[in-house]
Amino acid sequence: MKQETAFTPAPGWEPIKLSAKVFGHISQGLYRTPAGAIKELISNAFDADAEHVKIHTDFPNFGIFSCEDNGHGISVDDFTQLMNRGFGSSMKRSEAGELTSRFHRPLIGRLGIGILSLAQICNEFKIVSHHSASKKAFEVTIQFPPYTKEELDRAEKKKGGYVIGGAYKFSEIPYNASNSGVKIYTSALRATFRRRMQELGDRFAKKAHMGKNDPYLSFEEYIDCVYNSKLISKSLTLASDYDQLLFGLALSAPVPYFEGGEGDVILKADFMQQIQKRLKGYKFVVEVDNLRLARPLVLPSNREGIASKQCRLLPGRDHQFQLCDGSFQETVTINKYSVEVDSQEEKYALYHLKYYNAMVGGRPLRISGYMFNQTGRLYPREIQGVLIRIKNIAIGTYDNSLMYYPHAEGPRFSMVSMEFFIEEGFEDALNIDRDSFNGLDPHYVRVQSFVHSMMRTIFPEIWTEEKERNKRRREELKKVSQQKLLGAINRTSAAAPMRRVAVNEPQNASESDAPVQFRKGQIEVTSSHPLLGPALKRRKSRAVVEQIAIAFERALRESTDLKRRQVFYKLLSEIFSA
């Protein structure tokens, strides 16, 4: 095959041969975010049976990056092959059911592109590998120079050809068994990456929440800052790129769920505990800047501050829906666990999702997962929607369109968080960046149909619960503002205090009667009064109109115009104060 040179290695350096397609992907930026690029290294370490991955970003300078794992390393032969037309050329994936030898982890699978993901954030890096099986070690420096558009266009024209996309300098070093694994170091980080990371300022979650600029002391502190900062908790897009990087890596990595802080209600379910146990059983620890990553989910997560410890999971019961995928239909049974909230009338729900079909697009598809919904928006926004994991690795981020759900459900979209764990299938659904899906793949379409069909039955339930919740809230707010007004009225006079407001509907109220009566300890409002009644018709403004009427009638009882005005405006300012 013909080679097209985009770059000429210096003396002493060997060329890296890439397929034109891969060359283009890398040059144009394969990953949407730095987390997308770095997670490849974590996946490689997982597959290599590493117990630890340690990443250092050099916060807050971000001038040096390192990623070290203690897996079984890369062999000299594998590396040489990668450098010589091996990247992305075979598109090899792991076979279904293939497990790692030591910790029996489901192999995430290699496209032979993982290491090159680093090219997105730096243009030179060093790899040191001690390979336990062959007892050989090597050190290599890899360079990826900047590419011009002309070079990219030329390379693209050579379909099926290879290009010289970089250079490497290789040397074998003495093998040291205690150093088994792959270590990557670079201080040639791209300026844009550094700048974006360095821009902390007020967007740094720790600064926003605690007023401090120093590094996070623990992952728990990080979670506390992200979930409880007034500003950042709305959405991570308001947080610094560093915070987003941490969140992205913690979300995507095959690590257990976060168990600190207030806890997570989904972990109260048996099926989730089994998943947690399985994840812990992989014995895989990922640390970034000395923070031990965990899946950064805290559910429930809302503005009311309701925490997991206030939630009680009721026994599960079956919930059925009709899955419609084009003309294909199937009855699916999932489990619903209602979630009761202590001393509140809130009701949340946790669903255990399962699906298997032996023939979807000619291949079996097996998925499991969960769906959690609460009343009230989930914060931050980044945990709203659907997240799909393949072999424990998150693909992309949460899709808050619920895979392009075709109906308008307003704020209810923001109350749902679900994860799917693909156990079998999806081999061809994944795009080369391993961060997104081919939307026409049959397996993807089937899961999409699952979500849409399921949500068509669940959204109405959420809607009902939300209506009732809003009603409860309105009544609560009404009670509070009524109490406030009563307090204000009682302060205007030395007479016996008013304790409650009662709304009556007598049949024959006339205009000459006062629509508001002040009786012993009680203010009575005649809602059918011919003068007041019409103003009370609009449900949204009813409570305020009632209060203004009370204020007006109270003011009328004063002896002079001045006093009437004084009382009325004073009560008005109470009604409209915060």
């Binding site: 117990e51 630890h52 340690k54 250092h56 970003t57 050099d58 916060f59 807050p60 300078n61 001038g63 040096i64 390192s66 070290e68 794992d69 203690n70 243009n123 060093k126 040191v128 001690h130 120079p145 900047p146 040291n176 205690s178 150093n179 088994s180 694994g181 270590k183 170091y185 201080s187 791209r190 300026a191 844009t192 550094r194 700048r195 360095q198 120093d214 590094p215 002391l217 623990s218 620890v285 800047d289 000395n290």
Partner: protein, 375 residues
């Protein structure tokens, strides 16, 4: 989790630990008591991955260790090896605790008309980004070095600066005074305003330990420099001149250099530091002046020299004649000898070192880093 480098050859050297235990630690303890709990003890080191100095100070309660978070407070380090750098950072526990590179390069960064335009790390990075991926390597290196220089400067001051670089103090020309200049710059930075948890402070006192190496590779220029120091002392201090004239070897500088170059070095070299302190308005008192022999992997003999200086803030500094005479007195230098593990002095020393190693290994275990072997 393992780093690529092996442990350094002298990490468990009992003589080195003797120096720490009997010279550094007592003085550091005194200084720490003076802080009176108002702030943490701040330590700067060139420790390698073994970090015995750091854990010695932790064991003695001088450097603060957070047992809940497993982090070492107020310690910063510089390390030249990128494969060791993340390991030390792991053991310290703070991501912003380290500086990668050669300390002298970072400290002595000299601006030029181009780099002087950028006064902050943000401005430097904006410039690097502006120039794009095709930025000349040298330009990028200069800009990044400046960025590191600014960061390191902002980390000062420290209560204890441990400049344990174990190399020749006067390198071969053209950079014979490079190490000295680096010390000068760091002492200058010691006058900076410090901020800790929002509270400002200035140092009134600090410790400086400088450990270097002496062998027969010391250059002609270096001896020329030492001769200059001696000559200056002779001019300034009559008693000093008399003391030299009374000694049959020392009275002739060339003879002194030929017959006892080590003595010349020990007599004159510390004056470099005294001069720096004087210039920067510190009074320097020597709390420890030790040396001990070593043999390199290639069988070459050399000597490690270590000076512990107590530096006290003073607006005006008087004569140094007393110190110059003190340096001439061979009795004021301690030659550290090998200690047997079973001797009366050796047993507690080895036990102390083992305790330090145990503490260090506990941290390494927690951080999944290589453990040091038993002493």
């Amino acid at each position: 989790m393992h780093s690529t480098a092996r442990f350094s050859r002298w990490w468990n050297d009992p003589i080195k630990h003797y120096k720490r235990r009997h010279y550094w630690i007592p003085e550091a303890k005194k200084l720490q008591r003076e802080l009176d709990g108002k702030r943490g003890f701040r330590y700067f080191t060139l420790c390698s991955r073994e970090m015995i100095d750091v854990f010695s100070l932790i064991k003695e309660g001088i450097v603060s260790y957070d047992t809940a978070l497993h982090k070492i407070n107020h310690v910063k380090f510089c390390e030249i090896d990128e494969t060791i750098f993340p390991e030390i950072k792991d053991l310290v526990g703070y991501e912003d605790s380290g500086f990668l590179g050669r300390l002298e390069d970072i400290v002595l960064f000299q601006g030029d008309s181009y780099t002087d335009k950028f006064t902050s790390r943000g401005e430097i990075n904006t410039e690097i980004e502006r120039l794009g991926e095709a930025i000349p390597k040298e330009k990028k290196h200069r800009l990044e070095l400046k960025s590191q220089h600014l960061s390191l400067q902002q980390a000062f001051p420290f209560d204890f600066v441990n400049y344990d670089f174990c190399d020749i103090y006067y390198p071969n020309p053209p950079d014979t005074m490079r190490i000295n200049s680096a010390v000068d710059r760091m002492v200058e930075w010691q006058s900076r305003l410090g901020i800790e948890e929002g509270r400002e402070f200035f140092l009134k006192r600090f410790l400086l330990a400088v450990t270097c190496r002496f062998d027969d590779n010391v250059s002609k220029d270096a001896y020329g420099r030492l001769a200059t120091v001696v000559a200056a002392n002779q001019r300034e201090y009559p008693q000093y001149r008399i003391a030299l004239e009374r000694d049959p070897v020392r009275k002739d500088l060339k003879k002194w250099q030929k017959q006892d170059p080590f003595d010349l070095f020990l007599s004159a070299w510390p004056k470099e530091l005294i001069r720096i302190m004087e210039k920067r308005q510190w009074r320097m008192e020597i709390r420890g002046f030790v040396f001990y022999p070593r043999v390199s992997d290639l069988g070459k003999h050399y000597t490690i020299v270590s000076l512990l200086c107590d530096c006290i803030r003073q607006n005006s500094v008087g004569t140094h004649e007393g110190q110059s005479l003190w340096l001439l007195d061979r009795n004021n230098r301690d030659k550290l000898k090998p200690l047997s593990r079973s001797s009366a002095e050796g047993r507690p020393l080895y036990a102390h070192l083992q305790a330090v190693v145990t503490k260090r290994n506990a941290q390494a275990q927690y951080r999944s880093r290589p453990l040091l072997p038993k002493i």
